[in-house]
């Protein structure tokens, strides 16, 4: 019952992303990037772990993620072509003020908390626990995204094919966690799973909070622009910024120079 409510809520919340071609394109691209990040991180993790069997699984998992990245990228490209979306505009709405090629914030979550070198920060058991939680969540999310793309068989097939791999990822990480439990490391496993879930939930709350705050702040700033700043703007239009050669601003004394903001 509870699961059904969660799924319905997720569908309602995320339908807009998949109905808007530009957002859908951007989301497919961002999934490609997170899958690729995840793949790279798993490659690194595979080199760090001591257990050869776990290493083999992580290597296969890495290959899956990198393949998923290619699948998402190709689907994004063909979707853009089908809908006449200009190449290279995928991330433009999220670009910061400066000219910058930095990754925009993700609109939806895929494997959103892979970071470079995570295994070094977490440790082996904690890393596998984090993978397990992430993959289970990804399987749930991708099921929703598949269903929300019922009218787009190509995108639906992308999620369908990736879901098959996710089941394997959940299974092998679960096997290792069970094995460590049998070896008497149950409390460690439970703690790691708990922390991974908490971290995920906290990330989701932060993302939701940030998104709401950003939306609200944008509206406030837009209103400010047309009210409070309007006279200043009109005044600024009359005054051109200086052109041509200018004298440099006098530098403060050396001791104060670095502190000046």
């Amino acid at each position: 019952m509870e699961e059904g409510i969660k799924t319905a809520w997720r569908r309602w919340r995320e339908r807009g992303t998949w109905e808007d071609p530009q957002r859908k394109y951007r989301t497919l691209l961002s999934f490609s990037e997170t899958e690729e990040d995840g793949g790279k991180d798993l490659v690194r993790a595979a080199r760090r772990v001591a257990d050869p069997e776990l290493r083999t699984h992580l290597e296969r998992h890495a290959a899956d993620e990198i393949r998923h990245a290619a699948i998402f990228r190709e689907r994004a490209a063909s979707f853009a072509a089908e809908h006449g979306l200009a190449a290279g505009t995928g991330d433009s709405p999220d670009r910061p003020y400066d000219l910058s090629g930095a990754r925009p914030g993700l609109e939806l979550d895929a494997h959103g908390f892979f970071n470079a070198g995570l295994v070094d920060e977490l440790g082996e058991l904690e890393y596998v626990a984090m993978l397990h939680v992430a993959e289970r969540k990804a399987a749930e999310l991708f099921t929703t995204y598949r269903d929300l793309n019922a009218d787009d068989p190509d995108t639906r097939e992308v999620f369908e094919s990736i879901l098959r791999d996710e089941k394997y990822h959940v299974a092998y990480t679960g096997t290792f966690l069970d094995r460590w439990r049998r070896e008497g490391r149950g409390p460690e496993v439970d703690k790691a799973l708990g922390e991974a879930k908490d971290s995920r939930m906290w990330s989701a709350w932060k993302r939701l909070g940030m998104r709401s705050a950003a939306g609200f702040a944008h509206v406030v700033l837009f209103v400010l622009y047309w009210t409070l700043l309007l006279p200043f703007g009109l005044f600024a239009r009359l005054r051109e910024l200086p052109a041509g050669w200018q004298d440099p601003r006098p530098l403060p004394e050396p001791a104060r120079r670095g502190g000046e903001y």
């Binding site: 000219l99 990754r103 700043l229 703007g233 600024a236 050396p254 670095g258 903001y261």
Partner: protein, 559 residues
């Protein structure tokens, strides 16, 4: 004194550590995140620098950011208001970013790196570029010119430097920016601003500047050597996403939509001609700046050239040829990553009164290749064998990746993360790039030649030996062999390799007496960052169609 310089939030972010007057480590965030031109806060790069020096953040005397946030905010706000009401959308987005994050940079740096806020310092952006250009040079005194996008207000700075003293003489202020004007034309031609300026330069080499007058009208020259950006034609003063106004199309023709075929060969060379015109106007304006600098700094016979535009090889060549200076120095990393180093050097010399570092010869200050070989490696029997192995494979017409030593700072690799191929005719360039999934007629490729054979193949200027050795200047081809692999304008991005600077690459080139030229570019796959570790290199090799990968004293080969 231990000072960490940082650059971030505009093109490539980086960190550089200067300790006791010497550069001990420098790293670029992109290499760690894999995100091209990553401009996010360089926490991984900073950590790599501290690890390399065996330091903790608490042991730093200062962390120096490469611009002054409050002054930059003042400029952003003034430009937004000046564009009222066209800036209404960009204002909300820009201000949100500034009010929520950028204005509180001291706190953010302190939190990210766990240093005390009073150890966080800020230097002016153009001074960071100028410091990178002069303090890293072997010159005792010089005139200094920085050509950049924008920092706080200044976009161009003329300076004079002597010893550990750097004096700014004149500046040109935002929005009159050569760097942003050039990036705007990159976007107008369907390229990615902030990423594809080098491709725009390659495109320019395919055309003729028949639209020079029209383009010159977008950037009028003033009699005093300065210039103006025609603000009616560009949106970059207030909008970072759409840099050009629709009215620009009325002046120079319609923009090229991204993804459309490039008009650069055959009957229709309009895109290449526009790029060539942009390049020609850029060079004209910069020569006027150089002339003004010579008036303001009479008696100086050396010039240090810094900022993003100092990466433009054709521009450097023009300044060397027509600028009137006997000596021209371009720092190893003239763009934004190099400004992280410049910020640290400016703080050490100007604020703390410390000494200048020894001249910066190479940019290889990053982490070294792992000691442990990956699966599939075959030992070559010694590091001396690596150049011979590379030469043998080039003789057989193979494409070889060569990874050795420390990672370089900057958007290019000129030594330690290379991809090499034989320079055997006009198709060689495309053939090499196809093997690494980079089939792109605009991808920059250099032509390497040993110092002893350089004069046979290229017109090598004597005024800029460091730039020539690092492949930072376009050289005119002299021989048929060089012409066959040069760009259509008869010039190549040549790299003259000497035995002192890069003994390994020199030995590989010298071993091929009958074929002294080789094609060289950075080792990475399409849309990916330059490889960092041996594991990254092996992964890229496996996904490529290259014949071999040489890493230190071992080889991974398909045969």
């Amino acid at each position: 004194m231990r000072v960490l310089g940082l650059s971030a939030f505009h093109r490539d972010s980086a960190a550089a550590l200067v300790a006791d007057g010497e550069v001990v480590a420098a790293a670029q965030e992109e290499r760690y995140t894999g995100v091209l031109v990553d401009s996010s806060f360089p926490r991984r790069a900073a950590r790599a620098c501290l690890d390399a020096a065996g330091l903790t953040a608490g042991e730093l005397d200062a962390v120096v950011f490469y611009e002054k946030p409050l002054r930059k905010f003042e400029r952003v706000l003034a430009a937004q208001l000046g564009a009222f009401p066209r800036s209404s959308r960009a204002f909300a987005k820009g201000m949100f970013l500034w009010l929520g994050d950028r204005l509180w940079l001291r706190t953010r740096i302190a939190d990210e790196l766990s240093v005390a806020p009073d150890r966080v310092a800020f230097v002016e952006h153009q001074r960071a570029h100028a410091a990178a250009a002069f303090f890293g040079s072997p010159l005792e005194r010089a005139a200094v010119l920085t050509l950049d996008d924008a920092g706080e207000w200044a976009t161009v700075a003329l300076a004079r430097a002597e010893g550990a003293r750097l004096e700014t003489l004149k500046e040109i202020g935002f929005p009159h920016s050569l760097g942003l004007w050039y990036s705007a034309f990159a976007q107008f031609l369907g390229l990615e601003p902030g990423l594809d300026e080098a491709r725009l330069e390659v495109l320019a080499a395919h055309g003729t500047p028949r639209l020079r007058d029209e383009v010159a009208g977008t950037l009028p020259a003033r009699p005093d050597g300065s210039f103006l950006v025609d603000e009616r034609l560009f949106r970059f003063p207030y909008d970072a996403e759409r840099l050009c106004d629709d009215r620009l199309g009325e002046r120079v023709g319609a923009p090229r939509p991204p993804g459309d075929p490039l008009r650069m060969a055959g009957d229709d060379t309009r895109d290449a001609d526009l790029a060539a015109s942009v390049q020609a106007v850029l060079e004209d304006r910069v020569l006027a700046l150089v002339a003004r600098l010579r008036e303001l700094a009479p008696g100086e016979d050396a010039l240090c050239l810094g900022g993003e535009l100092a990466r433009n090889r054709a521009l450097v060549a023009r300044v060397v040829a027509d600028g009137g200076f006997d000596r021209v120095f371009v720092p190893p990393v003239p763009g934004e990553p190099g400004a992280a180093l410049g910020a640290a050097l400016e703080y050490v010399t100007a604020v703390a009164g410390g000494p200048r570092p020894a001249p910066l010869v190479r940019a290889a200050w990053g982490e070294s290749v792992d000691v442990r070989a990956e699966e599939g490696a075959r030992s070559l029997g010694g590091a001396d064998e690596a150049p011979r192995e590379v030469a043998r494979r080039l003789d057989r017409g193979q494409g070889v990746a060569w990874v050795r030593g420390a990672l370089e700072l900057g958007p290019e690799s000129c030594s330690t993360r290379l991809l090499l191929g034989p320079a055997d005719g006009p198709g060689a360039r495309a053939g090499l790039l196809e093997r690494v999934q980079r089939a792109d007629p605009l991808a920059p490729v250099r032509v390497a030649v040993s110092a002893e054979r350089a004069a046979e193949h290229f017109a090598v200027p004597a005024a800029c030996p460091e730039a020539v050795r690092r492949g930072q200047v376009a050289l005119a081809a002299r021989s048929d062999a060089a012409r066959a692999v040069s760009l259509p304008d008869g010039r190549a991005w040549a790299q003259v390799v000497d035995a002192e600077l890069d003994p390994g690459l020199h030995a590989a080139l010298a071993a091929r007496a009958d074929a002294p030229l080789a094609l060289v570019t950075d080792f990475h796959l399409r849309s990916q960052a330059i490889v960092r570790s041996e594991a990254d290199a092996v992964e890229a090799f496996q996904r490529s169609a290259l014949d071999a990968l040489v890493v230190e004293d071992r080889v991974y080969a398909r045969d």
